[in-house]
């Protein structure tokens, strides 16, 4: 299947997957909601117990299935609910992102942010900014399974 290039007329809406740690970022997202701080609906959150639960395979899987950007949010270093999880996550993601960059994948399509349960505003700002960045990058064609691209009809 060929991806239609006739996308200019439509406003490009990226698909963004956000992995959020249950103890901080997910709660931060809740707080953003409670505070009515909006961010684009393209951002879809997946709850994980800790940022260290995020397997690089999940991130690649999201790209495979057509995500245009993947962001992982965890507790600030030092604040992990499980004391050390985000430190491991930080190394894993650093290396993974570096590898994606090495393969020539747009480096701005992946991001890690530390957002606490109290940072509803930060969550909203981060998501707005990330969505903006990914929108500017346009559709992800370098790292996706072409079979999963939606037909642009």
């Amino acid at each position: 299947m060929q991806v239609s290039e006739n996308t200019e007329n439509k406003e490009f809406k990226p698909l963004i997957v956000a992995f959020c740690c249950n103890w901080c970022s997910y709660a931060g997202a809740d707080l953003a909601g409670t505070s009515r701080l909006s961010y684009p609906a393209e951002v879809k959150i997946i709850r994980v117990p800790c940022s260290c639960r995020v397997n690089p395979m999940f991130i690649l899987k999201a790209f495979e299935k057509g995500a245009d950007g993947v962001i992982m949010c965890g507790c600030h270093p030092g604040d992990c609910h499980y004391s050390t999880g985000n430190y491991y996550a930080r190394r894993r993601m650093t290396l993974l992102f570096s590898m994606l960059d090495y393969l020539g994948i747009d480096r701005a399509r992946t991001r890690v942010e530390w957002v606490s349960a109290a940072e509803g505003q930060k969550f909203s700002l981060v998501m707005n900014d990330f969505a903006k960045t990914v929108t500017e990058l346009g559709e992800n064609i370098k790292l996706g399974d072409l079979r999963c691209k939606k037909q642009q009809d």
Binding site: M57, R90, M93, T94, S98, L103, R107
Partner: protein, 329 residues
Amino acid sequence: MQKTAGLIKKRVLELLADGTVTKVLGWKEGDFIYDVTPASFLSAQEADGLVYSSFCGANLSKYLISECKALTEGKILALLKPCDTYSFNQLLTEHRIDRDKVYVIGVGCKGMLDIEKIKAMGIKGITKVIDNGKELDIKTIYGSKTCKREDALLEKCLCCKSKNFKAFDEIIDPEPETKEEKADRFAKVSELEAMTAEERYAFWQEQLSKCIRCNACRNVCPACSCMKCVFDNPVSGVSSKANTDSFEEKMFHIIRAFHVAGRCTDCGECSRVCPQNIPLHLLNRKFIKDINELYGEYQAGEEVGSRAPLADFTFDDAEPSVVNERGNS
């Protein structure tokens, strides 16, 4: 090399005879000098086929996983080149082999040859290669050819980790540590890093699109010792048998490199065996380079029991955004 081979054979026969070992893991001669096969030898008679030549690049340490399991009595003798001992240690660290069951003979190595490189020089129909130390005398069905030995070295030997053995019970004919400057093993990685993202993408697209998903890189890799690989596991969510889309070859190679990151000793077997000559070692070396730069120098297999960088952290590790601050985008 022939001298070394003789010494090895002599010692192997002694150890088999006195019962120190019951099985020997080494290399068996093939049809054309260059096609030696890893093999085990149970008796003096069998050991007749044991060779040690410039084409013994294959790393035997991974065979020890199954050999240790199967061994019921005595010890298994493993012939390990200096670089192979790193893999051996890494396997010990991961409890995949039993040190007590293995008798390691470290065998000196001058650097192993890559028949693919010789063939790529346009030398065809090779029936014999005579290693004169500096030059190679190559017999072919189209006549004799010569080439410089250094031009035919395996990629891993160009930047030899060490001539020293990191594990051994005894050593035969060790080589002195080379004095001349070794090639920078990260040179190509740095070169890629300096390219633009588009150039990098084009490079890897061209290379990885050759992948036929034969799994040779994975199956030969001493770090890929999983009972069941995620890519073979139908419930893993990522299993696949073929590169049905260019995504899958990326997925496979990224995840494979990630799974061995911090455990890969840079033994270079993946690149050596790839039928399509994909420079897979450049993926592993990227991780090694990143680890060294971000978390401090680390050589997997240098010592048994060392903590892999991905199972470790410091409070002030670099943030993932460091990726955005380096090199070309």
